[in-house]
């Protein structure tokens, strides 16, 4: 009976040869890339030994320089808040001007190119260029994160605007409403909630990134972190890392609360 069923219907699940070939190709690629990068098991094991020594030096975390730590954390938060405020402020018009269903193409393409430029470079690269332009300190970090915010919010906001229903716009235009009224009464009500969502996400992202821009001298806790690395001051390093993770978790908690308010 069972043999009969098997003959009539074949196996319950067909072998997917394409999927198997895909997995095989993945493995072959991993082997090739590991060879290209000179990544080997022996080096990995050797690193694990170093890692154990490294972790041992990090325990217990050294919070004795907490005043420096607190001052740096405050500067980090300040950079994130100022950069978010200006980034959100600028990305609103940039997003509107880059939306292809509102503007003619000769306006949208330079703004789309600007957004693409802001997005394609990692914040650290902007940070390096801004440190050169405005010198060491939090200003370079703020400018960096403003550009990063425009890139992220601008892109998503533009996409949100391009998805809106055009009927309210048509109604307002038919009634002879001026351009700004069309934007305020037909476009913004449809996308403002999503804009606030993107903005609160970006505030979070800016806080994460502001802990890092200091590595290239653009202010915040990153500079102290990098210095602790270079001086092999690993127990202070552990304290810095713990406070960064705590700060990010706190901000994640706050931003979930804020999202709930705006739902």
């Amino acid at each position: 009976m069972t043999a009969d069923t098997a003959k009539n219907f074949g196996p319950a699940f067909k072998t997917n040869w394409w999927a198997r070939a895909g997995w095989l190709a993945g493995f072959l690629y991993a082997a090739y890339a590991a060879n290209y990068l000179d990544v080997s098991w022996a080096r990995f094991l050797q690193g694990l030994g170093n890692g154990a020594a490294f972790l041992a030096e990090m325990v217990p975390p050294n919070f004795s320089r907490w005043e420096l730590l607190a001052a740096n954390l405050i500067e980090t938060v300040e950079i994130a808040i100022i950069a978010s405020a200006f980034g959100i402020l600028f990305s609103l018009p940039v997003g509107l001007l880059a939306a292809r269903n509102l503007m003619p193409s000769w306006i949208t393409w330079p703004f789309r190119a600007f957004i693409a430029l802001c997005r394609s470079f990692h914040p650290v690269i902007f940070a390096i260029l801004f440190v050169k332009a405005v010198g060491f300190g939090p200003l370079a970090g703020i400018l960096t994160l403003i550009f990063a915010s425009i890139g992220f919010i601008g892109k998503l906001f533009t996409e949100a605007i391009e998805e809106i229903s055009l009927k309210p716009l048509e109604a307002l235009r038919a009634a002879g409403a001026p351009f700004m009224s069309v934007i305020i009464y037909a476009v913004l009500p449809q996308v403002l909630n999503r804009f606030i969502g993107f903005s609160s996400y970006q505030l979070d992202a800016n806080l994460r990134n502001s802990t890092m821009v200091g590595i290239v001298g653009a202010g915040g806790i990153g500079g102290t972190l990098f210095a602790a690395f270079q001086r092999f001051d690993y127990d202070f390093l552990a304290a810095i890392l713990i406070s960064i993770i705590a700060l990010v978790m706190l901000s994640e908690f706050i931003s979930t609360r804020i999202k709930r308010v705006f739902q």
């Binding site: 990068l37 990544v39 170093n50 500067e75 300040e78 405020a85 693409a116 394609s120 470079f121 332009a133």
Partner: protein, 266 residues
């Protein structure tokens, strides 16, 4: 009738409006406090246009002859770091994502443990991960690959766990009722439903990792970032501009590739 006319329609309740107002007020206060205490030297800002003009003057003309001898190999290294790191992240993120899905693993403690790993992976910036792994493995692409892998676990694992939590329980019930072992239930019940989301996340993360692996070299973790760091330290700005241009081109190509593949498979 007259009652209906006097009825006042409101979009939000009083407490909702109060909460919104409190959020805006809180942000405004935080912003003004930050603006007052942050240490900005205004002279540096006035000087910025001159400095930027100087920067562009030094970047021009671009030293394209440097691409074949110094940049190409490092760029390939960057792409391999991004791809291999993403694969490593998948290998680690699948079990952690499964542990985090509360409809598969019914122990809240394990769910919580998985969430903790995912959050720590995401809260530490990729450059900080890179610093850590350079300290562990020494400078080079191994540190970069492991850094990209650990940094991506949080993102891939979180979205994979969410995709697993959203699966339709029907096929799983059918498999359980027919007495399938746990692994078959996962492979034939959960995986086919979560797979499209999973591959989407994989592609999206690879795109992000191409950007990130281009900079982790600044702290010694291999790839184009190390070449950039050298050029910056030696003030070879006409090489810096070529490096930045090639990063820009590769990032745009990666994004186009990902968009094309996503359109095909999803």
């Amino acid at each position: 009738m007259s009652q209906a006319a006097s009825y006042k329609w409101e979009r939000f309740t009083f407490s909702e409006r109060l909460a919104r107002f409190a959020v805006f007020l809180g942000f405004a206060i935080a912003l003004s406090l930050s603006m007052r205490s942050v240490q900005i030297i205004p002279e540096f800002l006035y000087d910025a246009p001159t400095q930027v003009a100087d920067l562009f003057k030094r970047m021009w003309p671009m030293d394209f002859a440097y691409y074949p001898e110094g940049i190409h190999h490092a760029m390939m290294e960057t792409l391999h770091i991004a791809t291999l790191g993403t694969l490593l992240a998948i290998v680690m993120a699948i079990p952690i994502g499964v542990l985090g899905a509360n409809n598969i693993v019914h122990f809240p403690l394990l769910n919580w443990f998985s969430k903790l790993i995912l959050v720590s992976s995401r809260s530490v910036n990729s450059l900080v991960w890179a610093l850590l792994f350079v300290a562990v493995f020494g400078p080079g692409p191994l540190a970069g690959t492991v850094c990209i892998g650990f940094r991506s676990i949080g993102f891939v694992g979180k979205l994979f766990a969410e995709a697993l939590e959203e699966v339709d329980p029907g096929p799983i019930e059918a498999l359980t009722a027919s007495g399938a072992p746990w692994f078959s239930i996962f492979l034939k019940g959960y995986w086919p439903q979560a797979a499209p989301a999973f591959w989407g996340v994989f592609l999206f993360r690879w795109d992000i990792n191409v950007r990130e692996s281009a900079v982790i070299g600044l702290v010694g973790a291999g790839g184009i970032g190390m070449v950039l760091d050298t050029a910056l330290n030696l003030f070879f700005w006409n090489r810096v501009s070529v490096i930045l241009l090639s990063i820009f081109v590769v990032v745009i190509l990666a994004e186009l590739l990902v968009t094309a593949i996503r359109k095909r498979i999803i």
